[in-house]
């Protein structure tokens, strides 16, 4: 079993009103040092695979096909090393 974490983020060129609102909220709590806040999604997936390369290939395909919308989102993923 391979475990992976997939991160979906809104592209840098696309505005993120949720991140902006959180930034203001943090600033009002006196965290003045904040430059920027962006909100994304974390998806965890367990795959019935043993091979890391194949898992990477499958995860990439999943992100491209469904998990991320390439017009507004970027994605990256990490396979948990201790699960390989």
């Amino acid at each position: 079993m391979v475990e992976a974490e997939i991160y979906i983020t809104i592209k840098k060129t696309v505005s993120d009103p949720q991140g902006l609102t959180i930034k203001h909220a943090l600033a009002s709590l006196n965290f003045k040092e904040i430059e920027e806040v962006r909100v994304g999604k974390l998806i965890t997936i367990k795959l019935n695979l043993k091979d890391k390369n194949e898992a990477q290939r499958k995860l990439d395909e999943m992100c491209k096909k469904l998990l991320a919308n390439p017009i507004i989102e970027d994605y990256s993923f990490q396979i948990k090393e201790d699960t390989i």
Binding site: V14, T21, I71
Partner: protein, 231 residues
């Protein structure tokens, strides 16, 4: 001519669309379950609003893989008209049948209210009964209606006259203060290059009887009937 109203799990404006077509326009209409793939008997397909698959992941992201979507893509390619309203529009964007994507409303609120939109293009199967720059009073009800497209894509939409509806004031001003959700260029509805597939966030089916506050939405449905009748 026969209308088909698609029903995804989670659609909730399907009955309103059906009612307007059946009871107000007196046109034949049938529901089509999203797993049905026989669409030949229909002359126009309506993808209604709602929350297909609970809006999970992204609105429309899962419904776009429903079996019916492949068939819709084929009949649109053949030139039949189809219209996606609200969630229906989001499904069409996710399917890549229309360009761009939807973001969360700029103010992070679910917005449910009457707005004004301007028909920027009245040479379409969906607006042919409208005057030039006709203003319609029509409600929106969405959380992810902030239409996004990059600069290059926007230029292309403009060049091809694909922008059909833009949010505006009662008098037709398209300043940003009349943009309810932060949509690029106040865009409320666009059409494909071929001109037979419309996606729009406002709900014409919710504004087709004066008792509801406006019947301006009828223009969209009546235009389709006229267009189909003239072919």
């Amino acid at each position: 001519m026969k209308f088909g109203v698609v029903v995804f799990p989670g659609s909730n404006c399907d009955q309103d669309c059906f009612y307007v077509i059946n009871n107000i326009l007196n046109q034949p209409v049938k529901y089509v379950w999203h797993k049905d793939t026989k669409l030949d008997k229909f002359d126009c397909i309506v993808l209604p609003g709602g929350f297909s698959y609970g809006d999970y992941l992204r609105p429309g992201a899962i419904a776009r893989f429903s079996p019916i979507m492949k068939r819709i893509s084929e009949i649109v390619e053949k030139g039949k008209p189809a219209i996606g309203i609200c969630n229906g529009f989001q499904v069409l964007l996710e399917a890549g049948l229309l360009p761009g994507a939807m973001l969360r409303n700029k103010n992070l609120h679910f917005i449910c209210k009457y707005v004004y939109i301007k028909a920027e293009n009245n040479q379409t199967p969906f607006t042919n009964l409208g005057k030039r720059s006709q203003i319609l009073k029509i409600p929106i009800a969405h959380n992810e209606g902030s239409y996004y497209i990059d600069e290059k894509g926007l230029g292309e939409l403009k060049r091809n006259k694909q922008i059909v509806f833009r949010y505006c004031s009662k008098e037709g001003k398209t300043d940003s203060e009349f943009n309810p959700n932060g949509a690029v260029d106040n865009i409320a509805g666009i059409i494909n290059k071929k001109g037979n597939l419309l996606g729009m966030m406002p709900h014409p089916e919710r504004s087709s009887e004066l008792a509801l506050g406006s019947n301006d939405g009828l223009l969209v449905f009546k235009s389709i009937v006229k267009w189909l009748g003239s072919r």
